[in-house]
């Protein structure tokens, strides 16, 4: 009798354990080319917010490419997805697969050298101060502070939505409250977490202002968009710096860095110097397919405070300046020179 009880008890455990997952959770979708294509297409149809502003007919993409994948190999599927992703031409639409990645390629003229500061000793004093995110130094003209923010990434894990490392800005502004002006260099900043961008920008805010507007895809229908929503910026932190500020931009300034530029642009004491920015905020999300491939797409489209859409266009500087390859070979950083000039001549 005792043995029977034990056996019944154990069988009950096993039955519950082995039966549960299939009973309560549907199986994974099939990993076939056709199914992967359907999921990929439907995901964009549901979530992608920029078909209209980019003048893309997504139904015709289906009609054109769906017949090509009915029994295709992974290589063929990759080839089809590559064409679709490249055709969207959005910096926040890309594809990551074991066969290779498909990333956005800027169509802007290659007018700005990649890499870091050109001939720093000509403009900036030695003696680097930095935490793991932000570098800050003083220009040769010691009344001007120079900050370089190479990224806005960090701080999106779990419920910690901002990165405390960006709060070093309070310490910097405390030291530099007597400076005539500050240059913030974003020329190599590809973005990251827009909350971090807002954290830094709020230290330069004079009052609550709307700096950007956006609409987001809120449902599966083609016209399921939110009304225009405002992004606002307001003074925060221990010190506000309300004297002359110059933001240096390039074609590589993108995504959350462009949010930062839009936020700073609305303050009367800020001047944007350099080249037009990359042209994509988008609020991207990652998705994945049953074959394990990952892709990214934009869920919003952004405009500046005057509702001028900047997706695919970029933000024009107040003072357009280019540093050509020839300039950089001579050790001349024309954008930084102009930034210093703007502060030096400011009242």
């Amino acid at each position: 009798m005792k043995m029977i009880k034990n056996i019944v008890f154990l069988f009950a455990f096993l039955l519950i354990f082995y039966g549960c997952e299939k009973m309560f959770l549907e199986s994974d979708p099939q990993n076939t080319s056709a199914n992967n294509f359907e999921i990929f297409w439907k995901d964009f149809n549901r979530y992608y917010a920029q078909f209209i502003i980019r003048n893309i007919n997504w139904d015709s993409v289906y009609t054109k490419y769906r017949p090509l994948v009915s029994s295709s190999s992974e290589q063929q599927l990759y080839s089809v997805f590559s064409k679709i992703v490249s055709g969207i031409n959005d910096m926040h639409v890309d594809l990551h697969t074991p066969l290779g990645d498909v990333n956005w390629k800027s169509k802007a003229p290659d007018s700005y050298p990649s890499g870091r500061l050109i001939n720093a000793g000509k403009y900036i004093q030695f003696g680097l101060s930095q935490n793991s995110i932000i570098e800050y130094r003083t220009c040769l003209n010691s009344s001007i502070g120079y900050i370089i923010i190479p990224t806005f990434s960090g701080g999106t894990d779990g419920l910690s939505l901002t990165d405390d490392r960006y709060l070093v800005i309070d310490e910097i502004l405390s030291k530099w409250k007597d400076k005539k002006g500050i240059i913030i260099d974003l020329r190599w900043n590809h973005g990251g977490n827009s909350n971090n961008a807002e954290t830094v920008a709020s230290r330069f805010a004079d009052k609550l202002r709307v700096y950007s507007q956006y609409r987001e895809k809120t449902g599966p229908g083609k016209q399921d968009f939110s009304q225009w929503k405002n992004s606002t910026i307001e003074p925060k932190g221990t010190h506000q710096f309300l004297k002359s500020v110059v933001i240096l931009t390039s074609r590589s300034t993108a995504s959350s860095a462009e949010m930062f530029v839009m936020a700073m642009q609305v303050f009367p004491h800020v001047t944007i110097v350099g080249d037009t920015t990359g042209g994509g905020v988008g609020a991207p999300i990652y998705r994945e397919l049953p074959n394990g491939w990952t892709y990214r797409l934009s869920t919003r489209y952004y405009a500046d405070a005057q509702q001028q859409v900047m997706e695919g266009v970029g933000i024009s500087p107040d003072v357009p300046v280019l540093t050509t390859v020839a300039d950089s070979l001579k050790g001349i950083d024309r954008i930084l020179e102009k930034g210093i000039e703007v502060i030096t001549t400011s009242k």
Binding site: K2, N6, F9, L10, A12, F13, L14, I16, F17, C20, E21, F24, L25, E26, S27, D28, P29, N31, I39, Y47, H96, S153, T156, D157, G158, L159, L161, T162, N195, E198, T199, S202, E216, K217, T218, G219, P220, K229, K236, A283, P284, I285, Y286, R287, E288, L289, P290, N291, G292, T294, T299, R300
Partner: protein, 280 residues
């Protein structure tokens, strides 16, 4: 994983056999007890988070559970805390960087009172209510350091049903079976269309307390949005007057509507726990 499961089952068999050979003869139904149990073991956790991925993610975890039970002559009170954390992987992407960091925490209090007694079966049934607060937080990592957060946080009241069977009339060995079905909950983080788009997140101030801002934006939900069932089979036996062991199988399944009728989070958890119990 099957090796670990087999190991746990073997331990359960040994402990059950040991317990049946004990000769402690106290009729526990005529006494009041305070039982404090610390348990750990293995949890098998599976998630289909439709808002984030078409794939099921699953993994094993080592949970920690702490419970206090009051066993009165006609009432039962239980306070329980549960915690586990681990990485979940999909069947397709086991060798890639796609994974979920899953955090599962819960607190519950149950009160029940004697409803029926079946003397010939040595079984007593209790009926009552359960207050629970749970957080299931998932960080979906798609590429190296790119992640999206998804979560359910629910605080609710539910119907609680408990049966206790004493194996012999005068014994210290119980088989407990309990079933909880929440009927109303205050749910946070709901109505999200995707990782970015949510009317709940639109105007959060990220430099202020996120938890409090999110808490204020919760909704009351019932069976239309949340179906949950929890069941537990627990076998307790004492090796002497104060110390014993608790072998427990805990099952939890919930299906939570993330956005209208389009996406649901389906979470299934099977826990096999071995606990050390102190009777006061």
């Amino acid at each position: 994983m099957k090796t670990i499961l087999s190991f746990i089952l073997i331990i359960i068999v040994i402990l059950i056999n040991t317990s049946f050979s004990q000769e402690i003869t106290t009729d526990v139904r005529t006494q009041t007890h305070h039982l404090i149990t610390f348990s750990s073991g293995m949890s098998l956790h599976s998630v289909r988070d439709e808002m984030m991925s078409p794939l099921i993610y699953s993994g094993t975890q080592i949970p920690i559970a702490l419970s206090y039970r009051y066993r009165g002559l006609s009432n039962r009170h239980t306070v329980a805390l549960f915690y586990d954390q681990s990485d979940l992987k999909s069947s397709i992407t086991k060798n890639s960087s796609h994974y979920i960091k899953n955090l599962n925490m819960s607190f519950e209090y149950t009160f029940s009172t004697k409803a029926w007694a079946f003397e010939n079966l040595n079984t007593t049934c209790f009926l009552g209510a359960r207050f629970s607060c749970m957080l299931n937080l998932r960080n979906h990592y798609y590429l190296k350091d790119k992640s999206h957060m998804s979560a359910e946080q629910m605080t609710g009241l539910g119907i609680y049903f408990l049966t206790e069977t004493v194996f012999r009339k005068e014994s210290n060995y119980f088989l407990r079976v309990e079933v909880n079905i929440p009927f109303i909950s205050y749910a946070l983080l709901n109505n999200r269309y995707n990782a970015n788009v949510s009317e709940k997140f639109g105007d959060l101030d990220f430099e202020k307390s996120i938890m409090w801002q999110i808490f204020k934006k919760g909704d009351l939900v019932t069976f239309n949005k949340l179906f949950e069932i929890q069941a537990e089979i627990s076998y307790i036996f004492f090796v002497n007057a104060h110390f014993g062991f608790d072998l427990r199988y805990h099952f939890q399944y919930y299906s939570f509507e993330q956005f209208e009728s389009l996406f649901r989070a389906n979470v299934l958890s099977n826990q096999f726990l071995i606990g050390f119990t102190v009777k006061l």
